[in-house]
Symmetry: C2
Subunit: 330 residues, 2 copies
């Protein structure tokens, strides 16, 4: 087994060869190849730019439906997209634990390359650090990204308005339940995959068609409830969710029922909350292949809060995630 | 002692309170305060942008002359500056090990705020992840950054030209020797500090005065030799260093003599290699308060290489760093 050694992180010959042979060949593009300390991007077309960063510490590194490589590209592409930006370029920074199996790293870099292609984005600069055995957890990745915002676009968690529809682009909870299964934290015999994927292209299409969207938010850590809570606070609205309309796959429902998790707080990947005027909702549903659903309604309010109209007809108040359901899922 | 728990990294209430109280209050600015997933930067003034990323895994976190917070701001500001960009905004991403002392984290965030102020740059977006005890090393930080390049500026490690002067902006090796001392890897009784500092303002002044610079490179990991080697390869030049002119503090010289390290491979912070036409050299020296020095000469060559004219008058060839002198110094 070939493994990473401390020499791979020293800025010398071995590091340069490793980066050239194991990384550059897979992520090849004219900017990255320069291997300068900064990537230079030319001919910027707009005058508003989105900048985002995320570190990925998921364990295990490879899980049903994805891996840390797919996760880091999708996470950063999706974060840029939530601001209405068209993702333009990503950075890629590895913190590798000494002794890591090079073939696993190779698989992950392949996945990064494939996902970047799927999202139509380039990785333009990077960094590699190696820490001693026992001082890391095989691999942490940071991806930061920039995107450009067209002049007519104005999307923000501060922009949800009175009478807006609240949509989710697909069923919730799959990613976290898949991760729980992968970590052996639940031992039922079930088949579930993470649904991590880049969501920039459907949003770009909607914006190209001038479909009016107010807020986009990815309900990752903290789940649907915590993400909606941010929109509630930022936009000063009251949001009422319709419990019967929230899409949850049966396998996720069963696990939640059995172990007592609330699916509203389960982390998601590859899903967006979108708020928009009623007239936009059908276009959003179509853009996401018909699996998006209207799950609630916003109302201007002096007492912003998140409410749930339950299947039985009652109304209950929903808060932010208070304590742990499960760590290390993104 | 207050410590970080896994709950601090979950995207819920405790994480939001921690970020608001411990981070936002210190790094306050209008963009960061929005706490959206992407920062939006408006009114971009140029059409060339530099993008860079670096993860910092230094141990110990606090060392004579600096700390990981000062290091991460300076490192990314300086990387942007090497491309001729005026640093515009930074991202800040923490990977914190469960159990980390909150007061140490607090000191580091203070240092980030102070260094950002010194470099006149804003931190506009961030991320916080917490990993289980034993899966990290107290704190890793990633900073990514963007900067804008004025139209008249054209600096790159590919642009060193025939007859250029090679300058270094101060004595080499101090950072790595200070780190070795801090890690108890050398036990002589000596006083030495890291010289980590942001170098963007003197370069901005030179560029404002239209002083022509060809390449800027920060000789961090791999040291002066590895950094020059990159310029040699990228620009296809032969560089000859004048051993007698390379500034090295006595304390660094003594340690190197005693333990057999070559100062050319010691990591530096707060130092730039600058290559420029002769007519620019005196302006560079003045911009760095007189401590910069001409240490070599470039010559166009079909056989690019790095040479040293020794104090005794001989010529020897210098390669890249092959193996480890010391890990975890940046």
């Amino acid at each position: 087994m070939h493994t990473i050694t401390l020499n791979h992180g020293l800025g010398g010959k071995q590091m340069h060869e490793f980066i050239k042979n194991s990384i550059m060949t897979k992520l090849q593009n004219g900017i990255l190849e320069k291997m300068d300390d900064s990537a230079i991007l030319k001919n910027l077309k707009t005058n508003r730019l989105a900048l985002t960063t995320d570190s990925y510490v998921v364990s295990p590194l490879i899980f049903p439906g994805g891996d840390i490589g797919r996760l880091c590209v999708c996470g950063t592409v999706n974060d840029l997209t939530t601001s209405g930006a068209k993702p333009h370029a990503l950075t890629l920074s590895f913190i590798i634990e000494e002794g890591m199996d090079l073939s696993v790293l190779d698989t992950i870099i392949d996945s990064i390359a494939q996902t970047a292609q799927e999202a139509q984005i380039q990785i333009v600069t990077g960094d590699t650090k190696v820490v001693e055995k026992g001082k890391g957890d095989k691999l942490f990745i940071n991806t930061s990204g920039i995107g450009f915002i067209e002049d007519h676009v104005d999307i923000s968690t501060y922009h949800t308005k009175d009478d807006d529809d609240i949509l989710i682009t697909g069923p919730i909870g799959n990613h976290e339940i898949a991760m729980m299964k992968a970590r052996n934290l639940i031992d039922f015999d079930l088949t579930i995959e993470s649904d991590v994927r880049p969501l920039n292209l459907p949003i770009e299409n909607l914006l190209k068609q001038k479909v009016l969207l107010h807020s986009i938010k990815d309900p990752t850590r903290g789940g649907l409830a915590s993400a909606l809570y941010e929109i509630v606070e930022h936009s000063q609205v009251e949001i009422t969710l319709f419990e019967k309309d929230i899409p949850i796959d049966n396998v996720v429902k069963s696990v939640c029922a059995l172990v007592g998790f609330d699916p509203l707080y389960l982390a998601n990947e590859g899903k967006f909350i979108i708020t928009c005027p009623k007239k936009s909702s059908q276009d959003v549903i179509k853009a996401f292949g018909g699996v998006a659903q209207i799950i609630g309604k916003a109302k201007k309010s002096n007492h912003p809060k998140l409410l749930m109209q339950t299947e039985s007809g009652g109304i209950r108040k929903i808060g932010m995630l208070e304590t742990m359901q499960l760590p290390r899922i993104c």
